[in-house]
Amino acid sequence: MAPHPPPDPPPLALVDAAKSFGMVRALRGVSLDLRAGEIHGLCGENGAGKSTLVALLAGVHQPDAGHIEIDGAPVALSGPAAAQRAGVAVIYQEPTLFPDLSVAENIFMGRQPLRGGRRIDRRAMRTATAELFARLGVRIDPDRPARGLSIADQQLVEIAKALSFDARVLVMDEPTAALSGVEVRRLFAVARALRGNGAAILFISHRFDEVFALCDRITVMRDGGHVGTGRAADLTVDAVVRQMVGRDIATLYPERTPAPGAPVLEVEELGRRGVFSGVGFTVRAGEVVALAGLVGAGRSEVVRAVFGIDRYDSGTVAVNGRPLPPNRPAAAMAAGVGLVPEDRRQQGLVMELSVERNATLTRRWALSRFGLLRRGAEASAAAGWLGRLRVKAGDTAAPVATLSGGNQQKVVLAKWLAGEPAVLIVDEPTRGIDVGTKAEVHRLLSELAGQGIAVLMVSSELPEVLGMADRVLVMHEGRITAELHRDDATEEAVMFAATGQHAGGTAPGGPPPEAAR
């Protein structure tokens, strides 16, 4: 534990807390103290219990054993409202916005500024929202509804909401998972400023560079237990990783010797009014192509259109030389295309279905005979891939909702890998996945490519893009602004193209589409 106990009691501390969900022991006797003026990092594999810990701090769950202390005094947080009253602001792992309400209302719900007669002061609310966004360096119209915001923007609204509390304690569960560098830097600047003002901050992330860049102390968890806490300065990434997974991770990005074959996925002049235009590229068998760009560049939209989820206005998509009918995911699947979507909760998984059924959802027909499902075949097919991806699930018949975020992500991957696609499109495949699994996913992707599968990867993590891709396509405002070969792809080159500065690489697109926002 901490070598020098501070004079003041910590504003928020968890003492010997345990929490079980049915048979799953999510937390077993974890202690953690958040000190004023300090940023505390929390690391752990997927399912280690980080979010559960957050839920206890937020008053969402009550510990089965142990307790929470505020300023040294034990308290029972009966609900989120109680935690808020105690000065704890929380950013949950998944955005929790009200899609029908305006961004400003989302931020101030239940705490709207008032004027005479206890009426809501809309103008004050709008101004305050604009100020918060200014602090974060983003421009989101406070009056627009939250519906339609990208995940990244949703996350930013969440951050603004947490800031609006002016809380003594700020708990952030993977706030950066959906953000790109610019926003992350802004967030860090704000977090440091808050620390300067004496706030206690808990920061959870699977990205070690972030954890080490920001945090003063780091706690590592494993399997619901507390492994250790130490000063960031005294720790190294390797040490933390070893504590987390109980072994060394050789390398995050596997060595690859790409041997691209024939073109498999050919996209030409794809366009959708106001979203993207003139998008064309080819992915060859055995090749990993990354689609990079800033958040909001339209990458997800392009791959969704390719897979047939979204309509497109112009252009063609062909797999193995045969054109795909637009807007028909089933046809794309039949042609051997798979898409791991970016939003696992909304798009990737059916939360109420079991882990097993989610994993076999795309293979319903293949796993049936005479039109009837064969449960045995289903179970074994599911078990195979869930095992390979080391999905941590107590019971594969339990709803997939009971898994931790990272494990859910693995189930989405399993679901698509099981179909043995010819073209695998992955959108942010490692968002929220821990290092161990991340290395595993990378290894898998490259192994698949090695088997001749064409892989198209959308990623906001530059290191991942650079580490994995044979070729990098960079998008900016709905256009491909650069195509970089593995050897030319540097951070600078990608960022230049991604911000539309046309440096390095070629810019196949013309001027940005006129219909851009």
């Binding site: 949950y92 989101i140 790109s180 989820i309 600078e492 230049f496 911000t499």
Partner: protein, 349 residues
């Protein structure tokens, strides 16, 4: 993500969220305008065909007819906005109406105000039963209120036991409530107007009102925000019940003849009024003004068709068609608004 490296801090501030927000908002406002327009069209067309439709008497009749549905639609909106629904309103109205009549029959000298309060209170109690079941037991409102639709009606039948209360059983001062007019506007219509304005004002300007929208928009997030979700849902049901009770009292005052079947089948009309008025059936959006307009629109259609001498056999079909047109129009506006906001996005499934 390597924070701190890259192209430096000079990266431009990106406009997030994008979309033609103002245009989208304008479109949403049109939503209520659309209903108003449809209303004006129907009134105009009917008046051209039969000028008698615009006579003072006829307008008074129209306002009176719309009163009950409007009050019910306002209450229903409160509930629907929280992603619930109350199918039992017809039964609650019937029960409250009968209770009011019985009260007068038993105590002929009762002050009118007491009877009104009693009816409203009975409605609130029924609403509280619904609310408690939905909020405390946390079960789907549609199932619960479908159950209480039968149960309350059963109680009504059992209570009435085949008797009927006639205008003669109620004091003239009470029946007068349904007939007197202030500045040419019937009192019940004024009551309905007051209810609409009060509810609209409350929903738009008070924290707890906005919280109803939050709950309907994303119940889970509402709990995380520390909103007392169960309490709010409960309150919405109680208010809705009380309004149904009020409508029952007004029914008694206006129609004078009361038996156990009063208000049968009204629930779907009420839901239809709210939906036509642009209240999203899955909660989170819609206003009581829209719902009230929806109610007036439906009543106007109901009154205009006989005046237009549309055959009785065609009337119901026309009403159905108009409901479809109204929700279709609403949908078109919503889609357009969404398009402007995001300039694309997945085609809804």
């Amino acid at each position: 993500m390597s924070a701190g490296s890259g192209t430096g801090a000079s990266a431009p501030v990106a406009e997030h969220g994008g979309g033609d927000v103002r245009g989208a908002r304008r479109l949403r406002q049109v939503r209520e305008l659309g209903i108003l327009l449809a209303l004006a069209l129907i009134v105009a067309a009917t008046a051209v065909a039969n000028p008698g439709f615009l006579s003072g008497q006829s307008i008074r009749d129209l306002l009176l007819s719309a009163t009950l549905l409007t009050i019910l639609a306002v209450g229903q909106t409160l509930v629907i906005v929280t992603r619930s629904v109350d199918l039992s309103v017809g039964s609650v109205l019937g029960l409250a109406a009968f209770a009011t009549g019985t009260l007068f029959a038993a105590f002929p000298g009762l002050p009118v105000a007491v009877a009104v309060l009693a009816g409203v209170a009975l409605g609130a109690v029924c609403g509280a039963v619904n609310g408690a079941l939905v909020a405390v037991a946390r079960v789907p409102a549609l199932v619960v209120t479908l159950g209480t639709l039968y149960a309350f009606r059963g109680v009504d039948y059992w209570w009435a036991a085949g008797t009927q209360i006639n205008a003669a059983d109620m004091p003239a001062s009470f029946l007068g409530l349904g007939r007197t007019a202030v500045l040419g506007v019937p009192v019940p219509a004024l009551v309905a107007l007051a209810v609409v304005l009060a509810a609209g004002w409350y929903l738009a300007s008070y924290r707890s009102g906005r919280e109803l929208y939050a709950i309907g928009s994303e119940p889970h997030a509402a709990r995380l925000s520390g909103i007392p979700v169960d309490r709010r849902i409960f309150a919405a049901f109680v208010v809705n019940g009380a309004l149904a009770g009020l409508a029952g009292v007004l029914y008694a005052a206006r129609f004078g003849t009361l038996d156990a079947t009063v208000g049968t089948g009204l629930e779907l009309q009420v839901v239809a009024a709210a939906v036509v008025g642009g209240v999203a059936i899955f909660g989170g959006s819609g206003t009581v003004y829209g719902a009230a307009l929806g109610a007036v629109l439906l009543t106007t259609i109901g009154s205009a068709l006989p005046v237009l001498r549309v055959s009785g056999f065609w009337q119901q079909a026309v009403v159905g068609l108009l409901i479809l047109v109204a929700i279709g129009m609403d949908r078109i506006l919503a889609v357009r608004a969404a398009r402007r906001l995001r300039g694309g996005g997945p085609d809804g499934t």
